[in-house]
């Protein structure tokens, strides 16, 4: 479905906005940044292309993080029963301690290392003489005190440069203690953003964790939830709904997740993928090794949640030939809606006609457009920090993506079916049939197809561009993270953080949608905004310079 042109988008301004912003750059930067911006035009003769996942331009205030952030912080961080040991100087260990709101609730007798931060705290001497000995004793100490069943070692910048062999040390520890001990060489300088770290984490989990368990699911409706990190309890709300319908979750990668469960991931019947960017490698690799198909879902917003639930049901009907799951799905949807409809209507009435910028990581900027539309809002600009072209344009472009030096440095595993563990879950004919009704089965269409004509897309939107676009496109809300929000918020525009939900949440599922509506309404209608006026409504936005010498 191609969305129609929204009356909320200031078409004229949008058309000239990119140009105005780019004009401030030097010729070199102009040329580079130009390819990262476009105005959505569904009437264009060929699909629009955007540049993404290439090196950050030095000196511009990018909001991107590093490889370590993607590996240690995003993918591995939420795991409860793995002791994450950062091998490196203290800073990066500290900066990932409790900074992401991935909630964890250990089951009875389950270890929970999420509240902890473990580091080898390398000093100058360790950089000069090597940190291997320190890492070894740190593992011994961690084993003596915390007795984990899994240790994941993550390295920061200096480690790769001084050549500490963390893989060998991990292997030694596995042997010595009979635990899972895996190393992740996720030095900050690898790749061009967090994205490289996601890939490294995906690779290691496939190599050393997935497929090592033997706990067979009890029901025929078993699934893995991929790319759901339980920010503010999102995963719990999704789990609640799936549980009502009767799905059995084998494991979650990785929100409130456990290595003990992920070991059994290969025994599930279906992978559902929430965050495509950070976890699609595992979905693909599990299909290759174990034959498990995957389905792209989106549990942000009521309409998206309903579609995802129906898609899942369609798969299981096709697979089992039993359509009771479809009935059960519809019952639960109807029941959930009854409970929240009144509140949804109220917030819709408050929010209709409001516009927003969406600038989040690698999937959320897409997911949140649906919930906004449910409430009658519109995205005038959307962009990702670290996405690839397929997250914008759809997986059909993957084959055309240029492989550059940076992506070559991240190992790309080609995997064969694992003997005895590979199952063909659906016949080719059944897959083809399913695909005619479920477009997201084994496929992701990307963000741009669902954006309105005239809306602006910017990849790796930096601080300067944010400020420029804001004053031209005048949104009511700026959805982003903490680093980018203050310039906008202090100018008098509401900001909501979509990485952390500003200590709120969950926003996923049925009940989460109500929370989202409530939070955005509260924000837009706060009395404080009456006391300040956004700069563009009063006088031109000036960029000041200081200098009197």
């Amino acid at each position: 479905m191609i969305p129609s042109t929204s009356s909320l988008i200031p078409q004229k301004k949008a058309k000239s906005a990119s140009q105005t912003v780019l004009d401030k750059y030097s010729a070199k930067v102009y040329k580079k940044r130009k390819t990262h911006m476009l105005m959505v035009d569904h009437t264009a003769p060929a699909p629009q292309e955007i540049e993404a996942n290439v090196r950050t331009i030095p000196g511009l205030l990018t909001h991107r993080g590093c490889c370590y952030a993607g590996c240690k912080g995003v993918v591995l961080g939420p795991l409860k029963d793995a002791l994450l040991l950062v091998h490196g100087p203290i800073g990066c260990s500290f900066y990932t301690w409790g900074t992401r709101r991935h909630k964890a609730r250990p089951r009875k007798d389950e270890k929970n290392f999420v509240p902890y931060c473990f580091s080898t705290d390398m000093q100058e001497g360790d950089i000069v003489f090597g940190g291997e000995k320190k890492l070894r004793t740190a593992i011994d100490e961690a084993m003596a005190i915390f007795k984990p069943e899994t240790i994941f070692i993550c390295s920061t910048c200096p480690v790769g440069l001084i050549g500490d062999d963390i893989a060998a040390i991990a292997a030694e520890a596995e042997e010595k203690y009979g635990i899972i001990c895996t190393s992740f060489s996720c030095e900050g300088y690898k790749g061009v953003s967090q994205s490289a770290g996601h890939h490294i984490a995906n690779n290691q989990l496939i190599k050393s964790v997935i497929g090592t368990g033997d706990s067979v699911p009890i029901t025929k409706l078993s699934i893995n939830i991929l790319g759901e990190y339980n920010i503010g309890g999102d995963g719990w709300e999704i789990g609640r709904v799936l549980g009502r319908i009767g799905y059995e979750t084998v494991c979650v990668l990785t929100g409130d997740g456990a290595v003990a469960d992920i070991r059994n991931a290969h025994l599930a019947e279906l992978n559902i993928v929430q965050c495509h960017r950070s976890i699609n490698y595992i979905a693909e690799m599990m299909q290759a090794q174990y034959g498990i198909p995957w389905l792209k879902v989106n549990f942000i917003g009521v309409s998206a949640t309903i579609k995802s639930l129906r898609d899942m049901a369609a798969y299981f009907v096709e697979k089992t030939g039993d359509d009771s799951i479809l009935q059960r799905t519809e019952e639960v949807i109807a029941d959930e809606l009854v409970e929240i409809q009144e509140e949804l209507d109220y917030y819709k009435q408050r929010l209709s006609g409001k516009t927003a910028f969406l600038y989040v990581g690698g999937s959320r900027s897409h997911h949140y457009q649906k919930i906004m539309r449910d409430f009658g809002m519109s995205a005038v600009l959307a962009g990702y920090e670290f996405a690839h072209r397929d997250d914008y344009e759809g997986r059909e472009v993957i084959a055309d993506i240029k492989v550059d030096a940076d992506s070559k440095n991240i190992e790309n595993l080609t995997l064969e079916p694992v003997e005895g563990k590979y199952h063909l879950h659906l016949s080719e004919a059944a897959v083809a049939k399913l695909k005619t009704t479920v477009d997201d089965f084994g496929y992701y269409g990307g963000m741009m197809k669902e954006m309105e004509n005239g809306s602006v897309v910017v990849d790796d939107l930096n601080h300067f561009e944010t400020e420029e676009f804001i004053k031209m496109l005048e949104p009511d809300v700026f959805f982003s993270g903490i680093k980018d929000k203050f310039v906008v918020q202090k100018g008098g525009v509401l900001s909501r953080q979509l990485h952390s939900y500003d200590y709120s949440g969950p926003y996923a599922g049925f009940k989460g949608a109500v929370n989202f509506g409530r939070d955005v309404s509260m924000g837009i209608y706060t009395p404080a905004w009456k006391l300040v006026v956004p700069p563009w409504k009063r006088q031109p936005f000036l960029s000041g310079t200081i200098g009197d010498a």
Partner: protein, 808 residues
């Protein structure tokens, strides 16, 4: 994390830590290689914060972009301001070919968009590890841009070079080195600040204004990091020390450096003295009356306004003194933990001491070996007058160490950054957020600590935290946190006690006092039939231990539940683990074989209560088929309070609790690790949690009429002088008998090389203990799967199939 060791290598570390402790110095963190929950950040963080105090000065971090992103995120959360840090965004290619090109492009792009007056180029782990020559890169950049007016300030700041505290001063040193100084005399006064909040710097500015001093305050973050709402947004932050003023520092008549632990080589005061002969005075952070007075007195000679002897300042000081007097009685209850940067902890500890708040723990994460000696003269007499026995001053600390010491030192208020919020929550101790970073509250930029009003505000917050805690029945809360509550509504009479002092005024009770008639009925199996409790029947009554409990929730240094040897007989050893139905079968087989069984016992091989589902089910199954057999179990006592009532319902008549110490310091040497409800405690905290629950558990059992035996493992050199105290306590709790056991040295356990006690010594100890509690003298230290008469175990026939089991 003292004494929480598992390998011989680390035992060495513990000893080193103990030696350091004995020498009265530092070394609290016994884990040498592992930092658990860091109490520090990296150098570039300090550089950026200090750099924000120079007008028109922006930072480019030379390294991977993550460094800039993380620091922006952390500063933005604390200051609630946009934090603009650029990065040279080095990639893998840069690490191979050098990052010069990236840095040059970063400078070009940054200047084009932001056009700052000065740029601080700070290095990171990455740049320093690959050996970047930033000065060289900047030289060639300047050559290529001859017309540039941008002041460049290169700083060497690898993350591994120090904490944010050192980073702050590394920036200041670089600033003075790179700005072209002008030594023409100006008559001004330099004030060099360590890390301070914007609100604190504002007070300093107001102070010099009051005194009429023309001061150069550097750095001045009062506006840049605590901005006002403006109609026009400026991309380059406003406010701060102007470079035009910085260069005049060489011509000032004096420098006052507010930085107690500033390394001499980074000292701007020392540099200005050395190169421009500007005299300087080093002062403490002006927190607390003496150190504020010291600053005011140091400034007074330069004052030009003698307006009525600085009446306003006098009033401020007077109000502060008045406030101190008003709150002294609440403060006397304060047992504070002060943690953070060296200057902060030093001055806040002194301020607390002035107020009669005992800082039981002063901890910094920086290397600061002088801290202890500097505070000793202050804290030792205070401790004495406050009757505080134990207090510590430590450097290179992590939060795991701070947490453990907070428990063992009996702290009731934490003062520092918001990073201790997890400890505050876990221990139910209030946290006064007074230092960077404050991530979970608003207003970090406005936190006041210096000056009369600042210290007064801080003290009020501390006092109020103490009052709230006192009023809010702190002890009850702490108890609820640490003591395992009964799993039924059954009320167990308890008395309120402080965790760290288990010896305090316990009522004396005996079993008899609590044996009401209804309870007596539960106790069908008189003690004279139990082979352990009665020597007379030891040769007659048969008993069977059913090994249904493999897991344990504590770690004892003498124990290893790993190996099975059919020829070895000691607690914690078993050939198999049985499920409840298997245990029932075994019991029935055994009964058929021997005729009469007096007692069924659950003795591990782990802890009977740590596997309570199995234990409960086993006893239930046996009771279904046998109404007469007596039940007995042994436990470490950690979960005893929770399950005591259920044990009574299951008709357990005898319980053995292993209690090796009643002093957490000694307990920690024996049992350094406890896992309770998904939380792990180590060291003295672990021992205290275990002990508190043993005490409540035994009291509950006794009140239910269950006969309690206390097992005490006699470990030479550890608890040998302490076993009599254990006996005394056990008696007061109402236990019936004590079993003083020799320690079996188990190969591979931590205590494997500890000496065995000889028989005469053990007998002597039993005589001493018998003054308090009758002694069991016929123990055979049975296996967890023993069956038969004491010392004459039979092999149960159904267990022909043996296998080696490695327990968790």
């Amino acid at each position: 994390m003292n004494n929480t060791t598992g390998t011989t290598e680390i035992i060495g570390a513990t000893e080193a830590a103990e030696a350091a402790e004995a020498a009265g110095t530092t070394g609290a963190k016994a884990l040498i290689s592992l930092d658990v929950n860091p109490c520090k950040m990296c150098m570039p963080m300090g550089v950026v914060t200090a750099a924000y105090g120079i007008e028109g000065n922006m930072v480019v971090l030379h390294g991977s972009q993550g460094c800039a992103t993380y620091i922006r995120r952390h500063m933005a959360t604390h200051y609630n301001e946009p934090i603009d840090i650029a990065s040279s965004a080095l990639t893998e290619q840069g690490t191979v070919y050098g990052g010069a090109k990236n840095l040059e492009r970063a400078l070009d792009n940054f200047i084009r968009l932001y056009n700052p007056f000065a740029i601080t180029v700070a290095t990171t782990c990455l740049a320093e590890t690959i050996g970047e020559d930033v000065n060289g890169i900047l030289d060639s950049w300047r050559e290529a841009h001859p017309q540039t007016t941008v002041q460049m300030i290169p700083v060497i700041s690898p993350g591994y070079g120090g904490t944010q505290f050192e980073g702050h001063f590394a920036f200041l040193a670089a600033l003075l080195k790179n700005v072209e100084m002008n030594s023409a005399p100006t008559g001004r006064v330099n004030i060099v600040c360590g890390p301070m909040s914007p609100a604190d710097v504002r007070w300093l500015k107001q102070l010099v204004c009051q005194l009429g001093i023309d001061a150069i305050i550097v750095p001045d973050c009062s506006q840049a990091l605590d901005g006002q709402h403006t109609e026009v947004y400026s991309r380059v932050h406003e406010g701060g020390t102007r470079i035009a003023d910085v260069l005049q520092m060489a011509g000032s008549k004096h420098t006052i450096e507010i930085a107690k632990y500033l390394p001499e080589k980074l000292s701007p005061g020392a540099l200005l003295k050395r190169e421009y002969n500007v005299p300087y005075t080093r002062l403490n952070l002006p927190v607390g009356l003496r150190d504020i007075d010291a600053l005011v007195n140091a400034l007074k000679p330069f004052a030009t306004l003698a307006n009525v002897e600085h009446a306003e300042l006098k009033l401020e000081r007077g109000r502060y003194l008045d406030a101190m007097i008003d709150s002294h009685k609440y403060n006397a209850l304060g047992r504070a933990v002060v943690f953070g940067e060296p200057d902060f902890v030093y001055s806040v500890a002194r301020m607390c001491a002035e107020q009669g708040i005992m800082p039981v723990l002063v901890a910094t994460a920086s290397k600061c070996p002088a801290l202890y000696a500097d505070l000793e003269a202050e804290l030792a007499p205070l401790a004495e007058s406050m009757l505080v026995e134990k207090w510590r001053v430590i450097d290179e600390a992590d939060f795991a160490t701070i947490e453990e010491l907070s428990v063992s030192l009996g702290a009731n208020v934490l003062i520092g950054s918001s990073d201790a919020r997890r400890i505050a929550k876990a221990l139910d101790i209030p946290l006064v957020r007074a230092a960077f970073p404050i991530h979970d509250h608003m207003g970090g930029q406005r936190v006041r600590t210096i000056g009369y009003e600042g210290s007064q505000a801080l003290i009020d917050r501390i006092t109020n935290a103490l009052i709230d805690q006192c009023e809010g029945s702190f002890r009850e809360k702490l108890k609820a946190k640490y003591l395992v509550q009964p799993d039924t509504a059954f009320a167990v009479e308890t008395t309120s006690r402080c965790l760290s002092n288990p010896d305090a005024s316990l009522p004396v009770r005996t079993a008899r006092q609590y044996l009401s008639d209804s309870v007596k009925r539960l106790c069908k199996h008189p003690t004279h039939e139990h082979p352990c409790f009665s020597k007379r029947c030891a040769t007659k009554s048969t008993r069977i231990h059913l090994p249904v409990a493999p897991k344990c929730n504590i770690t004892c240094n003498y124990c290893l539940r790993k190996y099975d040897c059919p020829n070895e007989s000691r607690p914690g050893v078993s050939s198999v683990v049985l499920s409840p139905p298997q245990a029932l079968k075994r019991y029935l087989d055994f009964k058929q074989q021997t005729g009469k069984v007096a007692i069924v016992g659950i003795a591990g091989p782990g802890d009977a209560l740590a596997n309570f589902d199995n234990t409960k089910e086993t006893l239930r199954l046996i009771r279904e088929v046998d109404k007469d057999v007596g039940f007995c179990l042994s436990t470490n006592g950690l979960l005893l309070a929770r399950y005591a009532h259920t044990l009574a319902e299951l008709e357990v008549s005898h319980v053995t609790v292993t209690m090796n110490a009643i002093d957490p310091a000694i307990g920690a040497r024996i049992c350094p690790w406890v896992s309770l409800d998904n939380l792990v405690y180590t060291g003295e905290a672990a021992a205290a949690v275990l002990l508190a629950n043993q005490i409540e558990g035994i009291k509950a059992l006794v009140s239910l009429g269950i006969i309690v035996k206390v097992n005490t493992v006699y470990i030479k050199g550890v608890n040998d002088a302490h076993v009599e105290s254990v006996a005394q306590m056990a008696h007061r709790l109402g236990a019936s008998v004590q079993n003083l056991m020799r320690m079996v040295s188990v190969k591979g356990s931590v205590f494997e090389n500890y000496p065995q006690v000889d028989k005469p010594t053990l007998l002597e100890a039993r005589v001493a203990c018998s003054k308090h509690l009758s002694q069991m003298r016929h123990c055979r230290q049975c296996r967890a799967d023993a069956a038969g008469l004491l010392g004459k175990d039979l092999l149960v026939r159904s267990l022909a199939e043996r296998r080696t089991v490695v327990f968790q």
